[in-house]
């Protein structure tokens, strides 16, 4: 099969398991984000794909060929590091031309390619500058250009944008995504920033504790988190526990929620996004009663925290800022929880 596949991969450092039973299959041309909190093993997985770390067990296959034992310098993957790792003693042009030079490309070819790649990253004419003369964002582009110089089969990015400020980071995310679409290159991006993942990825791999939690397109990850960890890690989620009764009625602290298809008997956990909730004065057949604990206007949205006795955390409700809010702090309100928006977690 074509693409990158990982089979039952394990990685241990002494007694510590960094990665457990990782299996993953990615078709060519996809943009994959490895997403998770720090220490979840996402960088280790990327470094194993790059060949910079050995596996403890399991296989890495590229287009059906086992590359587990192929050393990094023979894999011909392009990688961008968090520190960028540009060669400080070389100029911009020499950095970009490095992989071509060591393979014996002629000076003309090198110059032409440097030109092409600098155009590609929208930084023409800086080939003769020293690395230290560039800004952080510019260095980022140079690191990307260098990684792409070989027209690699895989493009690997290890949190390269985490050091940039928020605005520049967003711009770079868009640019990286465009570049990837333009080149149609299979890309792996490691990040702990879910916005970055949502912006760029065709496929998000959510990881935690060295284990894959969910593999799905971004919208599906958001709308249908596989478990409480994913729901909580991606965006803001209200996690509620209740008792399932007949007819899809779930009794929760402060009221009840109607969720189709929930079998009666036992506890049920579900998550619901803040933007799916609405506030109303009267109780309904799928509402939870509480008091307004906190209100904040975020410009693009209005966020209300509703404290519900019996729930560990406030319910968070997000609405349009243009909506009139007929409640004040301390008022008793009913939060409408539409059953169709609830995702039942296992």
């Amino acid at each position: 099969m074509s693409g990158l596949a990982i089979h039952q991969l394990n990685k241990a450092y002494g007694p510590v398991n960094a990665l457990s039973n990782i299996s993953l299959s990615v078709a060519n041309g996809q943009f994959v984000c490895l997403l998770g909190p720090s220490g979840c093993g996402k960088s280790t997985l990327l470094r194993i794909i790059a060949g910079l770390e050995a596996t403890t067990s399991g296989k890495v296959l590229l287009d059906g060929k086992d590359i587990t034992e192929v050393p990094a310098h023979l894999r011909d993957f392009g990688m961008v590091f968090q520190s960028l790792a540009l060669f400080p003693h070389l100029t911009v042009g020499e950095n970009i031309a490095y992989p071509l030079r060591i393979r014996g490309a002629s000076k003309e070819v090198q110059d032409r390619e440097v030109q092409r790649l600098l155009d590609l990253v929208h930084l023409p004419g800086v080939a003769d500058r020293a690395i230290t003369q560039l800004s952080g964002g510019q260095r980022q582009r140079i690191a990307i250009a260098r990684a792409l110089a070989l027209k690699p089969k895989l493009f690997l990015l290890d949190e390269p944008m985490s050091a940039l400020d928020a605005k520049l980071r967003e711009a770079m995310q868009v640019e990286v995504k465009r570049l990837q679409q333009e080149l149609g290159i299979t890309t792996f991006l490691v990040t702990h920033d879910q916005r970055e993942a949502m912006t760029t990825a065709d496929l998000v791999v959510v990881m935690s504790g060295g284990v894959i939690q969910q593999i799905a397109p971004p919208v599906e990850i958001y709308r249908s988190p596989a478990n409480a960890f994913v729901a909580d890690f991606i965006g803001v989620a209200n996690l509620i526990e209740g008792d399932a009764k007949a007819g899809g009625r779930v009794v929760v602290p402060g009221g009840q929620v109607l969720i189709d298809g929930v079998a009666a008997g036992g506890k049920v956990n579900f998550s619901v996004r803040p933007e799916d909730l609405t506030l109303q004065s009267a109780a309904g057949d799928s509402t939870v009663a509480g008091t307004v604990a906190f209100i904040r206007h975020l410009g693009s949205s209005l966020e209300v925290n509703v404290s519900v006795p019996g729930l560990a955390k406030d319910l968070i409700v997000v609405m349009s800022p243009r909506e009139h809010l007929p409640f004040d702090l301390g008022d008793t309100v009913n939060v409408h929880v539409p059953g169709s928006a609830c995702v039942v977690l296992r």
């Binding site: 790059a50 050393p71 790792a85 003693h89 490095y98 060591i102």
Partner: protein
């Protein structure tokens, strides 16, 4: 860091102590050495305060110029060998586990705490016919009978290199340990094997560091005068040995001062040339 100049005179107050110390312990002794180098020797440590060029006329002779050349030859060889050993060593050290690093650094520091004469005697024993390594080689069947390697040029270089390497490592280690480890990984993902990475990335990247360390060992070796006496033959006695002889044995302080000034000037010229050359290279 604040690099602006002090706004008023009181801003310079913190500089007074270091300035005074620098003048008292460096400028004054060095200045008086230059002055004495122009005095006339009376023997027995006495000199007449008559300025003349006789000392310098005497040292511009084939003998002392030959000594100078020999001294620099030795220093260059020692500096080159020390770098060839110390750089890969420091590189491997930086990339080894923390506990290994600590053990080696403590070992290096303990070598520094040894006196030069003890190291010299140890090497002369190690390289002797009666108790030295050649006996081991005989035992292993690599040699027919024990041989003596000291005193001699090889023994001298071994001894000085041994004392110079800890300095080189202690200069190189902190610099190498600050280098981003991802740079080598980047080189590997770009198609360079680990060994090749060392030669075409790590070494060129540290060119300035290597030159600086080289110069430091060069100057360090130029000043050594005990090792050549213990491990070298007379033709290996350096200009520094001649200076100590003039000062301590012949009590000819003015001539010793003139030799020292001569050595300092030539050293400064060489260091200056290298630094200038390096700067031009960087600029181009």
């Amino acid at each position: 860091m604040n690099t602006s100049r002090p706004q008023n005179l009181t801003g310079y107050v913190p500089l007074i102590l270091p300035a005074v110390v620098l003048v008292m312990f460096f400028v004054v002794p060095f200045g008086s050495m230059i002055l004495i180098s122009f005095y006339k020797n009376l023997g027995g440590g006495l000199y007449e305060e008559i300025l003349n060029l006789d000392n310098y006329r005497r040292l511009i002779s084939p003998f002392f110029v030959g000594l100078l050349i020999a001294s620099f030859g030795l220093a260059l060889a020692v500096a080159a060998i020390s770098i060839v050993i110390a750089f890969p060593f420091s590189y491997l050290l930086v990339n080894s586990p923390r506990s290994t690093q600590v053990v080696w650094l403590i070992f290096m520091l303990s070598i520094l705490s040894l006196s030069e004469s003890i190291i010299g005697f140890a090497w002369s024993t190690i390289l002797s016919r009666t108790a030295g390594v050649s006996n081991l080689l005989v035992f292993l069947g690599l040699l027919d009978r024990p041989a003596s390697y000291a005193p001699g040029l090889g023994a001298l270089i071994a001894g000085v290199v041994y004392t110079a390497i800890p300095y080189a490592v202690l200069v190189l280690y902190p610099i190498l340990s600050r280098v981003d480890p991802h740079i080598e990984e980047a080189a590997r993902t770009l198609g360079t094997s680990p060994l090749r990475t060392f030669f075409i990335v790590v070494l060129p990247m540290q060119r300035n560091t290597i030159v600086t360390t080289f110069l430091m060992i060069l100057v360090f070796t130029l000043g050594t005068y005990l090792m050549p006496q213990i491990l070298g033959r007379p033709q290996h006695w350096t200009l520094s040995v001649a200076i100590s002889d003039q000062a301590l044995m012949q009590s000819n302080i003015p001539f010793a001062a003139a030799l020292a000034v001569f050595l300092v000037i030539v050293t400064l010229l060489i260091v200056g040339t290298v630094v200038l050359f390096g700067r031009k290279e960087n600029a181009s």
